[in-house]
Symmetry: C2
Subunit: 153 residues, 2 copies
């Protein structure tokens, strides 16, 4: 089919709403839809992610780049050591090997389109040393979510 219709806000005919990832990484309330798989003639995979209110994507980095456009809701993103608020149609570029995480901060889900190379490396997740390094910056420490039980103060 050359045309697949929207069946509702950010839902499409023939596009399955999937769990974001396996259980090995820490995230909360995220779904994933692959809009275009990519091919030799179009070497990019185009996805739509939706993060439930209060939810977050996994904190990760990788050599491949993310090109992102926010579609619905509001939220914030960590890119490197910068935290930016996000609103519909804002664009985000995540450079290679840069720690990043998206969070939904409003009352409705945060939805965004995300383009990646069809052939790409696997994400890396921070080990304890990298996490401690990230947390030296108070703004980063306050932002990131790892699914861990908070340390006793």
């Amino acid at each position: 089919m050359s045309v697949r219709r929207a069946t509702g806000p950010c839902r499409w005919e023939g596009v399955e709403v999937r769990a974001y990832k396996g259980e090995a990484t820490h995230f909360a309330g995220v779904t994933r839809q692959v809009l275009f798989e990519g091919s030799a003639r179009l070497p990019g995979q185009w996805r739509y992610f939706e993060v439930a209110p209060g939810g977050y994507t996994s904190l990760e980095r990788h050599a491949h780049v993310h090109a992102v456009m926010v579609v619905r809701g509001s939220g914030a993103v960590l890119v490197g050591r910068e935290v930016h608020p996000l609103a519909p149609q804002d664009l985000v570029e995540v450079p290679p090997l840069t720690w990043h995480q998206f969070r939904a901060t409003g009352a409705e889900p945060l939805g965004f389109l995300c383009l990646v190379a069809a052939e790409r490396d696997l994400p890396q997740h921070p080990d304890a040393t990298q996490l401690a390094e990230l947390r030296r910056d108070p703004a980063v420490a306050a932002f990131i979510r790892t699914g861990e039980t908070p340390a006793t103060p």
Copy 2:
């Protein structure tokens, strides 16, 4: 900048609104914005096109594939010999070497995101023989716009 904000509906900081193409092809009322240029780490170019009411993109085909999402307005698209109406969030895939054209049919502009391979072939435009062949199908003949003066009946 890792984040570029939307400055209004389908306008972004640091993104220039350009003419669609040179004058060699027939189109009307179309602008083009490159949202992400693409790179070795992301071999796709992500663009936003906006077609003014009554306007149309050039009738063309090429070996590379288009992945499209409608963002605003209403319109219609020719893909091969099929004409489909378009509404926001509808998805369109244009296969290799398939004649296609987008038209804005409503009162507001038709805006769509379009993803292509960063390295791709140039579009081909129909010659008189190909145009005559396309026009054998009455639905296609009624749809396509080429900027030519209509033949005297």
